[in-house]
């Protein structure tokens, strides 16, 4: 669990949409890749919480590993944004699990630790969000990747 003091420990990768900015720990990012096609497994597409109506957008294979790709718009029930022609993904590596966040043509930037030291952090009781960085300014939502991975594992394993 990220505390107000520990959120400044690592740089943040910012994923910006028109209305919202999400942040993930840069040290959790395994890489940013482009892929031509996303695949959808039948077990996922038929699941109401995961498939077309859920937050999982598809799966890819990265160096032999199957990585689930999620959509932030679907996860937070936000309005979809234009993705463009490129399937750009941010690959998150947490322990032995990997997660793909679909960013499409969203702007990616970085927030360095030096910059974080000047910003406040406010914990937030919201699904998949740890808290707000700069709650009175840009209101950057720090993504709880651990919670997302757990949710995916639960869904895929059939546990509700």
């Amino acid at each position: 669990m990220t505390s107000p003091a520990s959120f400044k420990d690592s740089d943040k990768l910012l994923i910006s949409t028109d209305r919202e900015i999400f942040a993930v720990d840069a040290n959790m990012v395994a890489g940013i890749i482009e892929t031509k096609q996303l695949h959808m497994l039948p077990i996922i597409s038929s699941h109401p919480a995961l498939g077309k109506t859920g937050f999982i957008k598809g799966v890819i294979t990265q160096r032999g590993e199957v990585i689930v790709v999620i959509s932030l718009e679907n996860l937070f029930k936000a309005a979809p944004v234009q993705n463009g022609n490129t399937h750009r993904l941010v690959i998150i590596k947490k322990d032995a699990s990997s997660l793909g966040i679909y960013v499409g043509a969203k702007e990616l930037s970085f927030l360095w630790k030096e910059e974080l030291s000047n910003l406040e952090f406010k914990q937030l009781k919201k699904d998949y969000i740890v808290g707000l960085i700069d709650p009175y300014g840009k209101k950057i939502q720090l993504l709880d990747c651990q919670k997302v991975l757990e949710e995916i594992h639960k869904a895929i394993s059939g546990r509700q």
Binding site: A26, G31, R88
Partner: protein
């Protein structure tokens, strides 16, 4: 042979017969057986008796015709002319003055019958003639009124004709003036036609030169069109190159992102590299933005080139048409040159004809002036005719009054003649020639 004895002698002879008869009365008495003293008075009485009887008989015999003649004269005086056989005095043995008087009365009666008959006929004819005259004069009056109306219309027509002639005169004068203007204009036109011919010749030379230049221009346009088409083809290759650049910039951006993440993982030692990676990202973003700008520019350039190509095609078409038009213009100018020459010649002819037309118009003016004079005289003459017709109408009215008076007089005459009773044997008093003359007079009326 009848013996004529005057009435006086007849009375003397009668007197003698009475005296003789009275003289024989004593002898008659003496033969009678009467007393003597009675014989003388008886013989006196017998003598008186014989005298009275004989005298009465003779007197009646002698005056019988006069009474008849007196009665007939009275009838004639009353207008009774109906004695069918005249007066019968021709069976006397001894004719006297009564016979002559009867003959004279018979002749008078006969003549009166003829006269009255002729007067009756004449009166009847006169009445009919008066009626006919009245009818004819009435018709004449109507005819006179018609003539009066006709002359009024003729007057109006003559007046209108006079006005028309005046108008025609003004028109022809205007036409003459216009002919002068036309002659002047044609003279000017001939000069202009000559100038036009000169200008047309120059224009032909200029258009020939323009045609040659147009040929060169057309070749240049064709060359430009080929160049533009080649340019368009090369521009079409640019998007592919831009796609490659875009791909490279995107890969560069991705690589820089990953480099930045790795630099972040390196901690403090990777900050410098992260800055470089950010610069690389910015460079990739700039490249991407520039590619977008170039793509937009290339898009606009392609649109412009397409427009230029279309314009070039249109220009080629226009140039072709222009060349054809100039060729037509050159032909037209040749024709104009020919026509202007013809026009110059024709203008001379037209000028001559216009002069003739002007002379003719002047003669027409004189002729119409004469016609106008005649028309005005006609109006005056029509006024005179109208006045004469009015006078004639007054005369006709007087004649109608006279005919009515004559008709009345003929009626009165007829009434007067009607008082005479003529009977069946109407005799003509006038000779046949005179009767025919009277009939001719009636016909003349």
């Amino acid at each position: 042979m009848k013996l004529k004895v005057q009435i006086g002698y007849k009375f003397i002879i009668g007197f003698l017969l009475v005296v003789s008869a009275a003289a024989f009365s004593p002898k008659i008495v003496h033969s009678l057986n009467i007393v003597d003293w009675l014989k003388e008075p008886v013989s006196f009485l017998i003598a008186i008796l014989i005298g009275l009887i004989l005298g009465s008989i003779l007197s009646r015999s002698f005056t019988k015709d006069f009474s008849q003649l007196t009665s007939i004269a009275n009838d004639i005086s009353n207008g009774d002319l109906t004695q069918p056989d005249g007066i019968g005095v021709n069976n006397k043995i001894l004719e006297d003055e009564s016979t002559e008087l009867a003959n004279a009365l018979n002749i008078m009666l006969k003549n009166l019958k003829g006269l009255v008959g002729n007067i009756k006929d004449a009166s009847t004819n006169l009445y009919e003639a008066a009626e006919a005259l009245n009818s004819v004069v009435t018709k004449g009056n109507e005819t006179s009124e018609d003539i009066s109306k006709g002359t009024a219309k003729i007057f109006e027509g003559a007046l209108e004709q006079s006005n028309h002639v005046e108008t025609a005169l003004r028109t022809v004068k205007e036409m003459t003036r216009i002919s002068d203007d036309v002659a002047a204009k044609i003279d000017d036109m001939a000069a202009v036609a000559s100038q036009t011919r000169s200008v047309a010749q120059k224009s032909v030379a200029i258009s020939t030169s323009a045609l040659k230049k147009m040929e060169s221009l057309l070749q240049g346009v064709d060359f430009t069109k080929d160049m533009i088409l080649s340019l368009e083809e090369k521009i079409n290759h640019i998007p592919k190159v831009l796609d490659v650049i875009t791909h490279i910039s995107r890969q560069t951006d991705l690589l820089a992102l990953n480099a930045t993440i790795e630099a972040s993982k390196a901690g403090e030692h990777g900050r410098g590299f992260a800055i470089v990676a950010e610069e690389v990202r910015r460079f990739a973003d700039n490249t991407k933005q520039s590619v977008g700008d170039v793509t937009q520019i290339i898009k606009e350039v392609r649109a412009e080139v397409e427009r230029v190509v279309n314009s070039s095609v249109e220009s080629t078409t226009f140039t072709e048409e222009g060349r054809a038009d100039i060729s037509k213009i050159k032909d037209s100018l040749d024709e104009i040159n020919t026509f202007t020459s013809v026009v110059a010649d024709k203008s001379g002819h037209v000028l001559t004809l216009t002069q003739k037309q002007k002379d003719g118009a002047e003669a027409t003016v004189k002729l119409i002036e004469q016609i106008a004079t005649i028309a005005r005289e006609s109006v005056a003459a029509t006024e005179d005719v109208d006045r004469i017709v009015d006078e004639h109408r007054v005369s006709i009215e007087e004649l109608i009054a006279s005919a009515n008076k004559l008709s009345e007089l003929s009626k009165e005459l007829d009434d007067v003649v009607a008082r005479f009773k003529v009977g069946q044997d109407k005799l003509s008093f006038f000779p046949a020639e005179q009767t025919e003359k009277l009939e001719l007079t009636e016909k003349t009326i």
